[in-house]
Point group: D2
Chain length 291, copies 4
């Protein structure tokens, strides 16, 4: 397929490489040019503007947040490159509001807008094993399924409305955050009695919670290995804010998200914004007098 | 070994059967006599009082809560049966306060008191695959390790003080409760946008959280299969209260436990006390106008 | 003085009447024309657009929220009417973000922008007894002080930056909301033991809290007199959201505001959006099984 | 009347002086003998045991907490001094559980047990202006009303069951704590924008909240005058715990009390236990990076 791809960060690059390996032609654009050389060597075609990348059968975008999306597609005129009849697959984690707005903007241009945020970090993306949460017009979903099959191990459909996959992704992120926070609080409680955080976390992640989410963040807490961040606390705050906003629109109280937001702000106020959000354990410890 | 065993509920019975199979002699006592016949047929020796069961090299108790423990060992004079030099292994989930008090009461009688609450439900107990969280005098722990090897797949030592294993167990239960609650809230958020609870829970327990805690409680939420309860909401409230009490003594704020307590009380007030605590999803749904 | 006044709701009308009584000339504009006749009879001069009202020495605006402000000043071109050297006094309760943005937009036009939200309801406004929270350029504040002296009993200065008075106002509203919520929870606790809400509230508002905030909302709770609303629950939710947003920017955790937001959403989800926010007592009662 | 009075702390002494002034004969007992001389000079009769003080028509007790009450009446045998037909008026703030238990213990001895906790600090007690929250058998309440008229300005009856006045008192204390905490959070939010805590608190306690609770604690926050404590943070934690326990029995979620408990524990963990509980402002400030 003729593809465009915008957003060549740590996730975007391996995704493009997989698409090239599968035989697709990919025009690529990125704000900074650093990743372009590697991709060009692998067969991608760098272009000079978002609108040029958008001139494709299917455009995929993988950007950091609403601000980046707006900057590229509205201010940077990316939208204008999309041809009637094409599909834009936005794999970024964005707000419910942006998904609704973009679905309407694309519909005006007769372009199908698909939300397809993913579960999985860089290594999972490289292995083509992402879980893809997708929503959008049924026909468009069917059309891009072969691309999802290249990028991921499974696609989870959530319906026709663009915001549904975003809601599912934000709900999933809320559960990750709650898992981190619950381990932070529980291990601080153990600590308060002199049980080392390591002893407790190793037990709990070997017995009840032997999955990467708990094991990975547990190891970071044990080793206080918060920098460089796998996922920055400041980005965690953004995702929890988006979940709370989604909850507000749908009138769903989310008291765990509220606690998380307060604790993430506590972390921000103590200079932890660039640390991995596993450092929620430090917030918990600090409140308990640094046990 | 000559053993006594007090508390023949759903967990106690398979544990005694495993001890008998391993060649130990076991005197058994229970408040109601229902389970005694089965165990007698399997070779156990029913006795008429807690104190008679306590006349053993090692006494194991597996009772429901602090109230049951006090009723058997203080009011029911179980303590008086323990001979100097013996070991009492309390495998019940009890409060930090009770563990400290019992450690002292046993020390006065020159009896070693070991806390050994477990992770795992009935089927795990039957298979001898429990995870045993243990604390108490090192010598006593060493002496009962062969029994732990019969009952469990692994023993996790937490130190010399009796309360430490209790703290670890309460911390673990807090994490289970938080896992349930986070799934309840996240799936209610998804529901608020028309995504069925089943669709969201199946996705999340197949991807990020593919472990029995999430999968089991997730299925209960999907099917609203809350009765008969695997673990009653009213008992969940008790465990969260014990975690909060432990936090108070050690001056550790536990905001997730606070949210859980409020939501469990909301459940109690709506007649959910005898339901499985997976019905926290109903509390969440009700607050959101029953999505 | 030559004044313009935009926003003739329940607060705006008595404020304009007071300004007229004090001898000022006031051009008035409102989205709906209903209030114009009364004000014209009292000497005000109705005009046909926001921009015409803005052609004055001092323009005062008293609108419902950020959306109304933007609609009038940006989309409705109100900004374009402001002459260099004039002052715009915005007495609406708006977000910190809007205050910052508007301060900059006005500075570009060489117009001084003053934030001056008020404490007090309609009767207080009519009596000219408002408390006015003000921030903005010192010279502009001095220039409009005679107007504040007409409208209010006291002006509380918070500094030069436009957002400061907004922050003070949002902080004050948070305290009102917390007062309501604390009375709701405490009286529900009393209710849970069979003490009527009226008995408890009458005691507490006669002893520790004998002030209109508690007494007024207490009476509404006692009589379940939630409609017509003095201040709608949906507007309360908006104000709490603005406080939380302000907290997020300044990295200040606000756990009471978080609880309030969750409870206000619970109210929204149960059809209480148009009720007075005193009906937070119903949320509390409902969670306790409707005591 | 022949009275006994147990508990001669800062509140008890002026109360006894008022009773003497009104012409009553008062036998007094206290754990430490320090206050006895002053009271003897004023006409009171010091006695050597709680049981001797209890030999009276009406016994009044004013002790610190459940522990002190139990120590005096159970371990110290105070209960044994009470004659059939007499009345015990317990003016201490105690738990719901203790009130129920004591009502039963007194009924067995044919002694009427009245709960009568008070609102007001030392100066209010000295002026005989306490607000007295009372519950107990109607006949007993009528009998002691003349004493309440000496000690207080008004008696608020809550019914026949001993625990009802306790619940009302704990609910009132919850509202005081919430008032402090709301002022702490709101002024920290203002602080986060550079508005001094003093500026905000002076405004809010002059406008919306011009009552001693807010004004007094507000001044303590402004001056960081937390020692010596008027009311210790550790005692505040105890009262909030009692409110939460009362809520748990009646199945009433109390999310503000939950936030308070977590913040009070944060204070305890930072060595603020002996400070006035107005220092909740420091907890709030610390979480925000010490604004």
């Amino acid at each position: 397929m003729e593809l465009g791809f915008i957003g060549l960060g740590t996730m975007g690059v391996p995704m493009v490489l997989n698409l090239l390996k599968a035989g697709h032609r990919v025009k690529v654009w990125n704000r900074s040019s650093a990743p372009l050389d590697e991709l060009a060597r692998a067969g991608a075609q760098p272009v000079d503007s978002p609108a040029l990348a958008a001139q494709a059968e299917v455009l995929i975008s993988m950007l950091g947040d609403d601000v980046a999306i707006r900057s590229v597609f509205i201010d940077g005129k990316g939208l204008d490159g999309l041809a009637a009849g094409s599909v834009h697959v936005n794999m970024s984690t964005v707000s419910v509001a942006l998904a609704k707005e973009f679905a309407a903007l694309h519909a005006e241009r007769d372009v199908a807008y698909v939300s397809a945020p993913v579960l999985g970090r860089v290594d999972v993306a490289a292995a083509g094993n992402l879980n893809i949460l997708a929503s959008g017009p049924a026909q468009a979903l069917a059309r891009v399924q072969p691309l999802f099959d290249v990028l991921g191990r499974k696609t989870w459909p959530f319906g026709e409305c663009a915001e549904l996959a975003c809601v599912a992704k934000l709900s999933a992120n809320l559960m990750i955050a709650a898992a981190i926070e619950s381990m932070a609080q529980a291990s601080t409680l153990a600590s308060g009695y002199g049980i080392s955080r390591a002893t407790f976390i190793e037990m709990i992640t070997s017995t009840l919670f032997p999955v990467p989410v708990y094991q990975g963040y547990g190891q970071l807490m044990i080793n206080k290995h918060f920098e460089p961040a796998g996922f920055k606390l400041s980005l965690g705050l953004k995702d929890i804010r988006l979940a709370l906003e989604a909850g507000e629109v749908a009138q769903v109280p989310l008291p765990f998200a509220s606690v998380l937001k307060d604790n993430l702000l506590d972390g921000m106020a103590h200079g932890q914004g660039d640390q991995d959000w596993a450092s929620l354990s430090e917030v918990s410890a600090r409140r308990a007098g640094s046990r």
